[in-house]
């Protein structure tokens, strides 16, 4: 009887513990301040998603430089609505090793090009109707060499 009693209280104790309880994080309709606004027009300050340089038209071509301290550049592009076709993103005229990544609006990598040396980097991206729930894409240019790298980015 003594053991039965001990087991009963043990099960009771564990049952009490299993009644999960946790704190809540509340959203607030009356939160103060302002929502931050992305800065998308500065080629000298496009080192993250929130400062990705906006590519306003297709086709487009622009040139920029990566250094040993400025190792990544981000670009932001809104693909045309209801336009189901192939897009090409290309890094040309490289003076060093650099790679190119295509990242969707959900921060997931869609595609990438990692050729060695100064070989051009090319991403062909087929956009179909299933991708229409968000038409934003980000391009990430990465310096893989230990020196400055000049490049030309072409979007078609």
């Amino acid at each position: 009887m003594k053991y039965v009693s001990a087991r009963f209280y043990f099960v009771l104790f564990i049952s009490f513990l299993l009644v999960a309880c946790e704190g809540e994080i509340n959203t607030n309709e009356n939160a103060s301040g302002s929502a931050p606004i992305p800065v998308q027009n500065d080629l000298t300050d496009n080192d993250d998603f929130f400062h990705a340089y906006r590519l306003s038209s297709i086709p487009q071509s622009l040139s920029d430089t990566l250094s040993t301290t400025d190792t990544v550049d981000y670009f932001y592009l809104e693909l045309p609505l209801r336009s189901y076709r192939s897009y090409s993103f290309e890094l040309k005229s490289l003076t060093g090793d650099a790679d190119l990544e295509l990242i969707n609006a959900y921060l997931n990598k869609e595609s990438w090009s990692e050729n060695a040396g100064t070989e051009d980097e090319l991403i062909d991206y087929w956009r179909n109707y299933t991708d229409l729930d968000n038409n934003m894409v980000f391009l990430k240019v990465i310096n893989r060499s230990g020196t400055d790298v000049m490049y030309t980015l072409e979007v078609n």
Binding site: L17, L18, V19, A20, C21, E22, G23, E24, I25, N26, T27, N28, E29, A31, S32, G33, S34, A35, P36, I37, P38, Q40, D47, D48, F49, F50, R54, Y76, N104, A105, Y106, L107, N108, E110, D133, N134, M136, F138
Partner: protein, 342 residues
């Protein structure tokens, strides 16, 4: 293979060194082969979709003298790619009337988001190393039955889901021009600590002394003792945690938001069980040979969290918090254990 030879040599060395001092105390040595699996399949929430553990085999070498002064156990894990790594190291010693046990083990894994249209914050480095460490101090129960009890500290390092909360009006829409806000982030090596009561039931060593345990059914036939048993090791106590990944720069660079993390603490437990079948041959009082086969498993769970409510105070704020159960852990696998005591 080299590791196995090393382990066997260590076993022989320990046995030889310990024999003179332990011949009167019950010198116990065992070798265990087991399939070691860290699994994310029973994670709460979506974490099971994002975390992938390697599977492997483990060999456990144990030298233990429960009534005396020294105990040692080591496991080498062989991954599917053929590489070996030290999976666990367990040592125990007796200080006066106290029993001291130290255990460490781990497994490597990877993070991956299979749904390209699901916003999720993952670290740049998608590999991680999970770890389970334990330090226990206690003594043998005076009634025997293979029971030890005392206090323990458990440290579990593994991936955990951090839930993110935003300003309500923008929570669904996000900010135009910024990536879609993620509802979760994965901390690859989130550290959980449990500090509390510890007890351990070991049927094989108990059988080898001609005794049973709480949950065993020893049948004696001549010099043989055999039967099924449930071995159990448990630590229950205070829980607190320590994140490894600083999400502040990630969320700032992705969304321009300021990050605040809410600490998590409460009660948790870890259960390690062995559903075993023991077969022991006792030649004399001074010699026992044992075989144990079974399934071994371990669960680490948060049971109760001390509630702490938070409210978004400004529109550029995001709050992160781990949900109860989002850092649970399960391991399991079959094993065979051979033992000799003299």
């Amino acid at each position: 293979m080299t590791h196995y030879v090393t382990l066997l040599m260590t076993l022989l060395l320990l046995t030889m060194c310990a024999s003179p001092a332990l011949s009167q105390n019950g010198n116990y040595t065992s070798l265990t082969f087991k399939k070691s699996v860290w699994t994310s399949s029973q994670y709460v929430g979506d974490l099971s979709d994002w975390v992938y553990f390697d599977e492997g085999n483990a060999t456990v070498l144990e030298y233990r003298s429960p009534e005396s002064s020294f105990s040692f156990s080591a496991a080498i894990r062989e991954s599917e790619d053929g590489s070996n790594e030290l999976e666990s190291l367990v040592g125990a010693t007796r200080l006066g009337d106290m029993f001291l046990k130290l255990e460490t083990g781990g497994s490597e894994g990877q993070l991956f988001n299979p749904d390209n249209n699901e916003p999720l914050i993952l670290p740049d480095n998608k590999t991680f190393k999970s770890q389970l460490n334990m330090l226990a101090i206690g003594s043998n129960w005076s009634q025997g039955q293979g029971v030890k009890y005392g206090f323990a500290w458990v440290n579990l390092v593994q991936p955990a889901e951090i839930e993110l909360t935003y300003y309500s009006v923008l929570a669904d829409a996000g900010i135009v021009g910024a990536p879609t806000w993620a509802e979760s982030a994965v901390d690859p090596e989130f550290s959980n600590h449990i500090l509390g009561l510890w007890f351990d039931v070991d049927s094989l060593s108990s059988f080898m002394n001609g005794e049973g345990t709480f949950y065993s059914n020893p049948a004696i036939s001549g010099n043989f003792i055999r039967g099924f048993a449930l071995d159990w090791e448990m630590v229950v106590g205070l829980y607190f945690s320590d994140p490894s990944l600083d999400l502040s720069p990630i969320l700032k660079e992705a969304y321009g938001l300021d990050y605040e993390y809410v600490e998590s603490s409460g009660l948790a437990w870890t259960n390690s069980y062995k559903m075993a079948y023991n077969l022991v041959y006792r030649a004399q009082d001074s010699l026992s040979v044992g075989l144990q086969m079974g399934i071994e498993g371990r669960a680490v769970q948060t049971l109760f969290e001390i509630p702490e409510d938070k409210t978004i105070s400004s529109k550029d704020q995001v709050i992160g918090k781990i949900g109860i159960g989002d850092n649970d852990s399960y391991q399991w696998g079959p094993y065979v254990r051979l033992a000799v005591e003299f």
